[in-house]
Symmetry: C2
Subunit: 179 residues, 2 copies
């Protein structure tokens, strides 16, 4: 069966600062029509930054969508046309004041492919050294250092509860356990 | 520092079938104002369903937002007021034709808390037995059976690339490795 959905019509509903919304009319595999509500996003990066003692650099910030303070790995949104690794370097320094000599791509994934095209690029940063801290003007952050093992257990206690941090911490914790 | 952002104004932009969009004007921690573009979603469930041979039940489907066929674990959107476990039982049967005698909650997480309130509830289902297959009328799926180990490696080859599947597979693979 050809699973593809062919766009018959596309209507832009909203164009904002970080996201756009459109509604597509699609032809489904059986020839009938359906609609798809789709959020467009530039994509983002997130960074597992580990210091020489194996401690993970995390940030606490208020997440308006969730109406709660979250403990997350450093992350940020891609500017149009920006290279993801350049963005990761920029965001790590802006949010934590740190640079890294060693960068490694872990993976890229869709955060919510049922309705959103956001791709998140996840990096491992090691061999950290001081840069300049310079958060965006509408970003208010607190830095938290934590061991990978602590972070891993906090996932299952619900204290770390965002997708990118969970994926990155699972990856790094298991990799550390094996080496 | 109090990180909370206080809502000063909220404007509904769109109310659709599976999502709503609003723009909030907020007072930031330093007293200045900002805007937050927020997608509201009912939340969803996803299921790591393992058969008695340790094979994972996955589904292939076209994801319009990503414009690609994705290989994912079974999942679906919560109806208003629906209990997540009831939803997980329903979605597993609708998408795979299987029921499970053993259900276990793994965790709940925010898929994209920077702009969306979607919470995804992840379950482990074991001791599977046949039910009735009955996908939604606008869902076209193909079932795929795969070992956990295959699935795990496909994450890092980019062949499994959605957040919920990556979190669930990493969890189940490491748990299996340790037992």
């Amino acid at each position: 069966m050809d699973l593809k959905e062919v766009t018959k019509d596309s209507k832009e509903i909203f164009k904002g600062r970080i996201l756009r919304l459109r509604v597509d009319t699609v032809e489904l595999p059986d020839g009938s029509q359906g609609t798809r509500e789709i959020v467009e996003h530039n994509g983002a990066v997130a960074i597992i930054a580990l210091d020489d003692e194996g401690r993970l650099k995390m940030v606490r910030q208020y997440r308006k969508a969730a109406e709660m303070i979250m403990l997350e790995i450093p992350a940020g949104t891609l500017e149009t046309g920006e290279d993801p690794l350049d963005c990761a370097r920029r965001e790590l320094e802006e949010e934590t004041g740190l640079k890294a000599r060693h960068w490694e791509k872990i993976l890229s994934y869709y955060s919510a492919p049922g309705f959103c095209n956001e791709v998140l690029h996840l990096y491992l940063a090691r061999d950290l050294y001081p840069g300049e801290k310079n958060p965006d003007e509408d970003e208010f952050l607190e830095l938290v250092d934590i061991t990978l093992e602590q972070a891993y257990h906090m996932i299952f206690q619900g204290q770390i509860c965002d997708g990118k941090s969970i994926i990155g911490i699972q990856y790094a914790y298991y990799r550390m356990e094996r080496t």
